[in-house]
Symmetry: C2
Subunit: 213 residues, 2 copies
Amino acid sequence: MTDRSAMAVETPFVAIIDDDPSIRESLASLLRSVGLAPLPFASAQEFLHHRRPDAPGCLVLDVRLPGQSGLEFQRELAGAGIHLPVVFITGHGDIPMSVTAMKAGAVEFLAKPFRDQDLIDAVHTGIERDRDRRRAMDALSDLRGRFRSLTPREREVMGLVAAGQLNKQIAAELRLSEITVKVHRASVMRKMQAKSLPDLVRIADKLAPGGDS
Amino acid sequence: MTDRSAMAVETPFVAIIDDDPSIRESLASLLRSVGLAPLPFASAQEFLHHRRPDAPGCLVLDVRLPGQSGLEFQRELAGAGIHLPVVFITGHGDIPMSVTAMKAGAVEFLAKPFRDQDLIDAVHTGIERDRDRRRAMDALSDLRGRFRSLTPREREVMGLVAAGQLNKQIAAELRLSEITVKVHRASVMRKMQAKSLPDLVRIADKLAPGGDS
DNA sequence: TGGCCTGATATACCAAGGTATAGGGTCGGC
DNA sequence: GCCGACCCTATACCTTGGTATATCAGGCCA
């Protein structure tokens, strides 16, 4: 587990991007009323310049942003590796817009006027989704860290072991003696903290998604 | 592989449910023009009573159906284990409708008037999605069939082997001699057509989704 | 009743995996 | 030049896994 797990329970945040100050404030106050921590921004740029908390969060986005559209910004975020769940709100939306947003993975698409509870529900769904994603990422980061601690040879051996090759076959493939393979293999098990071969296989598969098919 | 793989390339179908005969016919003719096989139905019931081809397909659904709404029918299909991708078309849709449909996994939600090409693209996406799903299901069916051929004891042993237990530990857990475990284990490898332990582990994990965490 | 499947067990043997100890070499940095 | 990494190998020993052959018992069904 990472250091994060040892910290106090993380407070989720809700970033709000809307160019209308009164809307920002009313959304912020609504979210505060249910115990969530709002982070209001007037533009996408402002949001990007601000350092996001290292905690589960959610983004409430007006479709019509100053400069670019919220839909474009959603794509931009995904491209930049920022995987914050997005809840769209809009005053002048249409069906194609909402479909595009949902296809791109939006949590919800709310047309004004919407019920406060609908927004709150959507935000909670988004936060929960982000929490899950972060948990998965944390676990993967751990594994990736261990994998980085392997030497190149150890990585080769790990791959072949996970592929089901016998030590003998691995030795032939890598032009090594069988004993050398055993040494590397033991290092792999120790460094990857795998308690059994099935354990190692599962770790290897998590590290190489799409390796099947 | 299943028998299906040995057959000629499967012709995808497109089921159309719309109570307006002229719309049915125009949709059907549009789809025929691009080489797809339309199956027009006037109602959800008619669709359900008809035997669907055993081939990849897609469902074009009017949101406003006689009797029930297309959205309800979409949920009903999922509940009944019919996982046909759905493309919605509608003359009187709104944003919440489209969002609900997309959340439930719809491929597309098109408001009339829409461009012919948009419908064709959506249908192709749906068919491709169904083809992938069917491929995955076929592979799983194969594995499930093999698993069914295991005796109860063999299944127990398989689970413990995949969990990383040693033969000795498995024997203790099941109150068996180690030699008996080996016999069952060998049967498992043979019946499941696993060529190595990692192979068996991956098979076991495919058969027990959600077994991790 | 006899045949078949399932399950359990044993002996014996061989192959594969794992560990410990003890070397050897290259290469890059201090 | 020494140190530390990475890499390779070997001997020796033990554990675990895999296979073959054979036996025995209960349940089920024709």
